[in-house]
């Protein structure tokens, strides 16, 4: 007997759960390997971010079962979350101003 009361199904086989778990562990391990690569900070940041996004995607789709919910709900969660996270990025130029004395490639930086 199951007591499933939503679209998401948690009663599938063990094998898929274990494969996803192993994939996430391997990806987490990969981040530790990247940390000791001799690459510049931005390359490292890019690689770490890419791996973290894949890990998070696996967790959301297979552990949180978002993929089994209604398509409208998946779109709502994805659009709303990504919009908010994207909107948070507006201040980075000021961070570069702190570091360089100007935003990257700005005429102020070139002149000084």
């Amino acid at each position: 007997m199951t007591t499933d009361n939503g679209a998401a199904s948690y009663t599938g086989g063990w094998s898929r759960i274990l494969i996803v778990y192993a994939c996430i562990l391997v990806l987490a391990g990969l981040q530790f390997v990247i940390a000791y690569e001799h690459i510049d900070t931005w390359q490292m940041f890019g690689r770490m971010l890419a791996v973290a996004i894949v890990e998070a995607g696996l967790a959301v789709m297979f552990f949180m079962h978002l993929g089994s919910e209604k398509r409208g709900f998946v779109i709502f969660v994805a659009v709303f979350t990504l919009f908010v996270l994207a909107a948070l990025q507006y201040g980075w130029t000021d961070s570069f101003r702190m570091m360089l004395g100007a935003a990257p490639n700005s005429s102020y930086q070139t002149a000084h």
Binding site: T2, N5, Y10, T11, M48, F73, D94
Partner: protein, 209 residues
């Protein structure tokens, strides 16, 4: 159509319209909380990145031993706790109450171990002289940024452990059901998911070379 049938149809229609995306209300509330919490953690991590990028003498103090090894262990424990949580939800959905409780309590125990390792990490850093606005290595902002981000995550883990025990006890008493375990599982997986971003950006980008 009888009056009773008409009322049933009306009642069903009302239930659907009051349950957006055909998701149970409690589950929808948890998803909305997760979205807002993702924005909170996103803001914290962006602020951390902002400070790190804009501060020339940002410290990179984390040595392989003990910090990176400790972080590896914490990551393994938290990801494994997500697996045990998933197995707990699965058992609850299959109405295997004993197994479900076992997995839920094991998840709580793993969460508690994670929190203890985290506290040990903090105490080690405090012992080395790291404070909110000063440290022996460089920019004084490092301590504030580090303790804010990891502290917010530790707070979530601690709250999750307490919630796992509380929901487990109520599930055992029959006051909560499989759906409540599932909803708590969403929260726990989210806490795990956030750690996947905290580890690379707060720890691994700051390893000593």
């Amino acid at each position: 159509m009888s009056q009773v049938d008409a009322m049933a149809v009306h009642s069903t229609g009302h239930a659907e319209s009051s349950s957006p995306f055909a998701i149970p209300t409690k589950k929808l509330a948890m998803w909305l909380f997760i979205i807002s919490d993702a924005a909170t953690f996103g803001a914290c991590l962006v602020a951390y990145g902002f400070l790190r990028n804009g501060t020339p003498n940002w410290p990179t103090p984390f040595k392989f031993s003990p910090t990176v090894i400790n972080t590896m262990a914490m990551t393994f424990i938290l990801i494994t706790s997500s697996l045990t949580m998933l197995l707990g939800v699965r058992a609850a959905k299959l109405a295997d109450k004993t197994m479900a409780l076992g997995w839920v309590y094991l998840t709580a125990a793993l969460g508690a171990v994670f929190a203890l390792l985290h506290l040990r990490e903090w105490l080690g850093m405090i012992h080395e002289g790291v404070r909110l606005f000063q440290n022996p290595w460089g920019s004084g902002l490092f301590g504030a940024a580090f303790f804010s981000v990891t502290g917010l995550h530790l707070l979530h883990v601690t709250a999750g452990v307490l919630a796992l025990v509380a929901v487990g006890l109520r599930y055992k008493q029959g006051r909560y059901h499989a759906d409540d375990i599932e909803i708590l599982g969403l929260y726990w997986h989210f806490v795990d998911l956030v750690w996947m971003f905290v580890v690379p950006f707060v720890y691994l980008m700051n390893v000593a070379r």
